[in-house]
Symmetry: C2
Subunit: 161 residues, 2 copies
Amino acid sequence: MAATKILAENPRSPEELGEDLGVFRKYLKSKGFRVTREREAIAECILRNHGHFDVDELFMTLRSKKPISKASIYRALPLLIESGLLVAVYLEDGHMHYERAYGRERHSHLRCLNCRRIFEFSAPELEQAEKRICRQEGFKSKGSKFEIWGLCSNCQGEPKK
Amino acid sequence: MAATKILAENPRSPEELGEDLGVFRKYLKSKGFRVTREREAIAECILRNHGHFDVDELFMTLRSKKPISKASIYRALPLLIESGLLVAVYLEDGHMHYERAYGRERHSHLRCLNCRRIFEFSAPELEQAEKRICRQEGFKSKGSKFEIWGLCSNCQGEPKK
DNA sequence: GTATCTGCAAACCCTTTGCAATAAG
DNA sequence: CTTATTGCAAAGGGTTTGCAGATAC
């Protein structure tokens, strides 16, 4: 998989992590929300370990360190999104996925049906297509998504699990 | 919305409908499944009224004519998909949508966040992008999706409901 | 101190499933 | 007649929410 990468393997640098946490704290304070241990742990875990994840993965990683409830995670995620650090994506597997918004270029997803890994790619054609369509249709875009599913290069010979 | 259309407003012609129902019956028989009133009603309703729908819409339309259970709908949809008449799409609103597969060209979706209507468009750039990426990454595509959400031309002035 | 946040468990929504009654062939 | 299919209601996943106790400020 030449140009693509798995984002979980692409964590923020220590400096970037500090900045991002700063952005989050600032956002919380600006809204009169509190900077709690749980919110900090969630934000740090996302920024440190995960470029791309779902709630269960995050829950497992967090709980391996200290106790936390899923409710707190579900309540924190919208705040991280609001603060601009995170974006939500629905993949075709039927539940929410999230990914870091900071320090990332615009990209789309390749999802392997066999090993379930998510790869990323960027395709400038897509932005052009989106602009063209919106202009033609008088539509005001608030977001878009392109996803391809199939078999990654490693899984094309193997049987489906 | 010049080039786009709401597919629910684009029903099959009587001849096409007959053909499609034939395809479905044939599929059922070939598998040893039974041609029941419910399956026929569901298939006909989809082909006659809906180009694009979710289970609730279909349920409402069907039940306005005769009693049916959602379970039967949920059980019939995979058969319609298997028979090639229907495809399933996940839109970013978090539940399954379905659309007629027959007599339709390849297209993507514009989803209005205000009125919730789905518009369609086709963009040849997307197929090119998909091919390019798959070639580059050694990925074998089994399907893909492009969706844009935002405000349709009618809803840009109005308040969000 | 006081209002917000947490964890828990119950509620929710959409979808699937087990079962006894019904209908297709 | 025999077996698949139906409707119901209960169970499933993922997500949200109400509430009493904990905690940020």
